[in-house]
Amino acid sequence: MSETLPADGLLGWSWLLIALPLAGAAVLLLGGRRTDRWGHLLGTATVVASFLLAVLCTIQLAGLEERSADVDLFTFISTGELDVRAGLLFDPLSAIFALLITGVGSLIHVYSIGYMAHDPARRRFFAYLNLFVAAMLLLVLGNSFVALYVGWEGVGLASYLLIAFWYTRPAAATAAKKAFIMNRVGDVGLALAIFIMFAQLGTTSYEGVFGAVGTLAGGTITAIGLLLLLGACGKSGQFPLQAWLPDAMEGPTPVSALIHAATMVTAGVYLIARSAPIYDLTETARTVVLAIGALTLLIGAIAGCAYDDIKKVLAYSTVSQIGYMFLAVGLGPAGYVAGLAHLLAHGFFKAGLFLGAGSVMHAMNDQVDMRRFGGLWKKLPVTFVTFGLGYLALIGFPFLSGYFTKDAIIEAALDRDDVWGWVLGGVAVLGAGLTAFYMTRLMLMTFFGRARWEDGHGSTPVNPHESPSVMTAPMVVLAFGSVFAGALLVSVFPLSGWLEPVFGEPAEAAHVVAPALIGLVVTVVMLLGVLAAWLFVGRREVPVTAPVRVSPVTRAARNALYADTVNESLFMRPGQWLTRALVWVDNRGVDGAVNGLAATLGGSSSRLGRAQTGFVRSYALGMLGGAVLVAGALLAVTAG
């Protein structure tokens, strides 16, 4: 890590990046219904202002020699030997995240103005979105693990509030709880990692931790790495904590686009990339990151092939793509830049895809079942074109964003030059084929074929119409990002050079396999995936209800490889049994003993109370009896 200088000039004001959306959220939440008429405009304005500030800060940062600025704010915790200063670290890594969050965030705010136009609680929605942006910026800009943790919990809260935005729907409320609880499981890991840092190093600032982590025992470093990874898995929907992300699609679609595709779920990748100096010292933890990335990549892609809910397919695609990013950062120095480039490009095209899906839902009376779509390309031309570009970028069509960034990951995997490099590279290529399959299936079922919505299913007749321009404009901008971001990040404006102050000089790639050959192979596999989708879905009539007689593989994929079942039987049921047993013991055992003791004492005292007759002579008899007893006892003792 390079020297960090105190910030001056505009960078000294970078705390405004966080403060602006936070103030927006405060005004909207405290202002109540009075702000209903202009709340959405204020919410959008604060994020756009943050974006402009982020651009200016990044430009100033690019001009600095050290390209890293420390913004000291105030003392957060100071007690004994512990001294946590609240401060921001504006360096190339946090800069690209700040740009992504505020940039994509601005577009999604604009889109939401249209998407949520008819929702009576639109102001509340924008308040939560602003809260989210503020927390996410704190997460990436904080200069210590504690600041990161505060932001980490903040985005968790905002995500919970937004998934449950339509809280009158039981499914939304359940999904929000599920997301919150599964995230807490991961957060335990992150918290424990921070506790270990406190205990062993006495500091949690990035500078302090990364400077001193080398002095720790190997086992401790591995423990920190694995615990950080647990936190990252929770937030990023990685195996084994992936099951909450698809359920989170119950929230409004802009939330899915912003939080569950572009920004918050990538926080895990950010955490691992930021903690690179820790992972550099522990091969074990890094190998686990690799394994989890590769596994999640496949699980997400397989599940994505079987779902009929357009947003859930995209959600599993996100799980799978973040698996790619984990795979990349797990590769170490060779993969950081590739992973982050894929993260940025993915932020553009996946956000665009979700917004497109939202536009389709908007046109189809909020239906999400792709089996009820079809033939929409004529009705929704702008959505079709922008969605199509996002689709091509995601499956890695040559010379679009995903092609460059995904190939970079596969190259980095193969460059390991051992048998695991081939395994990981193979998994990544297989994943590319699966991605092409499920995304082509989605395209064919949604936009092509016979218009199945004309069959009159559903409660109200649908009349598909293009969304208003306030919604299509952000989609167009994101489509441009989908097309050009990859090329920009890899070739024209290389991310590796920009991130050099963080990750050091990029190592000269070994190129075990020529990049051109890799590109060719990946493209062929991708085309095979598209062809397979055409054979299985496009060529035939799509049944309006999902076929029941399917292969076990399909059934497993439809159940997301039984992730929920496993979680339920491994964690939920034993927990329920334990609580039930404890309740029984509590009712019968503990309460029984306590109540029984109380009843015994109460009963005997009321019986003894009867002895208080008020007759002096009976008391005198008692005294006499007592005296005789004592005398008798004395006699017995002295005689015996």
């Binding site: 109370g609 208080q612 007759t613 008020g614 007759f615 002096v616 002579r617 005198a620 008899l621 006499l624």
Partner: protein
């Protein structure tokens, strides 16, 4: 003259007093029976004082008399006030302090 005669007399007096306390209802009689018990104790004390040749027992007996006199003054006052309020000197009628 052996000590046992005195002690047996004291025991008889004490028993009569105790039985009186237990069986009589009239507060004045109960009081007198208490005095009888105290005197029986005094007799015992003085008997032992004579037998050991010290004055300790006699001094304690004097104390008991003083305390008994004081007790009689207060006790009779209480009995008088009870009699005034209830027109009865029976100790069984004054049983307000029951459960």
């Amino acid at each position: 003259m052996t000590l046992s005669y005195y002690l047996v007399l004291a025991a008889i007096l004490f028993t009569i007093g105790a039985i009186g306390v237990l069986v009589r209802r009239n507060a004045i009689v109960v009081f007198m029976c208490v005095e009888l018990m105290l005197n029986a104790v005094n007799l015992t004390l003085i008997t032992f004082a004579r037998s050991t040749g010290t004055v300790d027992g006699q001094i304690i007996a004097l104390f008991v008399m003083v305390v008994a006199a004081a007790e009689v003054v207060i006790g009779l006052a209480i009995i008088m006030s009870i009699y005034r309020t209830r027109r009865s000197a029976s100790i069984d009628d004054a049983n307000l302090l029951k459960y």
